[in-house]
């Protein structure tokens, strides 16, 4: 088989398999302890991302010299902050700090001599902060674990395709790996009928933001595609009943409620095919 295909399959498959085993054990043991379950699944997810990064990039770079090299460190930091949030840390302040930190990863080096960088920093910080609050409070509180994980998996998986189309096989592989890991967690959350808590979506949010920003700023990922994928998980709230949160993942309507997410993801992929110049054969 083609070397590239084997490498990609390993990069996507191995972390997903590890997350499958660890998450199954964690869900089984802490099924009735939502806080511990949320912390554990968030850390397992972050660990899966770090391993997927190592397989895609061939190792960690320390100290990080470029935006993409911050991804594994950011995954660890966000997971830890998420765990602290699950215990007692205030969400708003810590989310704001994380949002600003992520924006600085991309634009800090450009501040001197480029006033526009400041605008970018403020804009990205606000977008990330609002997204984090919305994802944690709105979606996480009103969705089952399977719904939430599946919608994030669809966005990240589609992110893998469009970033690859945008000219970065490595970032695309990482996004695809994250999609596969979230898919595995979605299946387990459905099987165990549990929520996944607020740590996992927080980690997803900042890491996926890094991938999309890297794709747009340093590769050829169209901004429209990135924005569509970014907002796709919010499609979950469409049609949900405010007075009836925590809808069970066992209802047959799960896929129907996912339709808006699927539609947004499909439009995003379509836009990438239309807007991205065809990739080269290296």
């Amino acid at each position: 088989m083609n070397q590239l295909v084997v490498q990609s399959l390993q990069g996507v498959g191995l972390p997903s398999l590890a997350v499958l085993i660890a998450s199954a054990v964690w869900f089984a043991v802490f099924r009735k302890h939502p806080r511990v379950r949320a912390i554990g699944i968030g850390l397992i997810f972050a660990g899966g991302i770090i391993w997927a990064y190592l397989l895609a990039f061939g190792g960690l770079a320390f100290p990080p010299r470029e935006s993409g090299q911050w991804i594994p460190y950011l995954a660890g930091v966000v997971a830890l902050v998420g765990c602290l949030q699950a215990i007692r840390l205030g969400r708003r302040v810590s989310n704001l700090v994380l949002s600003l930190g992520t924006a600085l990863i991309f634009f800090c080096s450009q501040i001197s001599g480029n006033p526009l960088a400041l605008v970018w920093i403020i804009g990205v910080t606000i977008a990330l902060f609002l997204s984090a609050i919305l994802l944690q409070q709105l979606i996480e509180d009103r969705c089952s674990g399977a719904e939430l994980s599946l919608s994030l998996a669809l966005s990240a998986g589609a992110g893998g395709i469009v970033i690859f189309l945008g000219g970065s096989a490595v970032l695309g592989q990482l996004s695809g790996s994250i999609g596969a890991i979230l898919g595995v967690i979605a299946v387990l959350a459905f099987f165990f009928n549990v929520t996944v808590g607020a740590v996992l979506p927080l980690v997803y949010l900042f890491i996926f933001a890094c991938l999309l920003l890297s794709g747009c700023l340093f590769a050829q990922l169209p901004w429209l595609t990135a924005v569509l994928l970014w907002i796709a998980p919010w499609g979950l709230v469409i049609g949900q009943r405010v007075d009836h949160p925590q809808i069970s993942s066992r209802t047959k309507d799960l896929l129907i409620r996912m339709l808006s997410v699927i539609a947004l993801v499909a439009i995003a992929i379509g836009s990438a095919f239309l807007l991205t110049p065809p990739s080269s054969e290296l």
Partner: protein, 190 residues
């Protein structure tokens, strides 16, 4: 008598023609210089590319070659492999990440004379923000007056580096880790 000696000396100098004097500085002439590279493709072939925009200087000290010095700066977004789509990929985050690292540089730290025409130039090569020592095998091509009477000195340097040493690890080994680099430089005496 003194006048006689002086005229003999002037005659010798006149016939000697333009020579490289003690510690002369040269600026690389981009129109008569080339930076090319070769990379393996799936173990079955080689792809060649070049960087179109670069600059540099070198200093030649005929009395003491160890005092020679070379500085080269290459604009990474000027990469050209005769395939624009591929060039876009090479400029992207998987390879050179030119948006964040716009230059690659070489600054010599030592020069060793092997024979009259061959030198080993060791220096710090910086690519994608990573600096590592690199040795160039340098061959003197020639020197002499150019079309406008300016004095020129031509050299050709070759080396092989591992791109993974510079955090450019994508698609190894399908796209080879080893990259051959060749710099053909013609310098104009300043």
């Amino acid at each position: 008598m003194k006048k006689h000696y002086l005229s003999i000396l002037l005659s010798i100098l006149a016939f000697a023609g333009p020579t490289v004097a003690h510690a002369d500085s040269f600026k690389i002439d981009p129109f008569h210089s080339t930076v090319i590279f070769k990379v393996g493709h799936f173990g079955v072939g080689n792809v060649y590319g070049r960087f179109d925009t670069f600059s540099g200087t070198f200093t030649l000290d005929q009395n003491d070659p160890s005092k020679d010095a070379v500085n080269v700066e290459i604009k990474t977004d000027s990469v050209d492999t005769n395939a624009p789509k591929r060039d876009t990929d090479i400029k992207g985050p998987d390879f050179l990440n030119t948006a964040q690292f716009s230059t690659a540089t070489f600054k010599s730290t030592s020069v060793k004379k092997i024979d009259d025409k061959t030198y080993e130039v060791t220096g710090d090569f910086t690519l994608r923000g990573v600096t590592k020592p690199l040795t160039l095998n340098v061959q003197a091509i020639g020197s002499g007056p150019g079309p406008k009477g300016e004095f020129r000195s031509g050299w050709e340097a070759t080396t092989t580096l591992k791109r993974s040493d510079f955090e450019v690890k994508a698609l190894v080994p399908a796209v080879s880790d080893e990259v051959s680099l060749r710099i053909a430089a013609e310098g104009i005496k300043q």
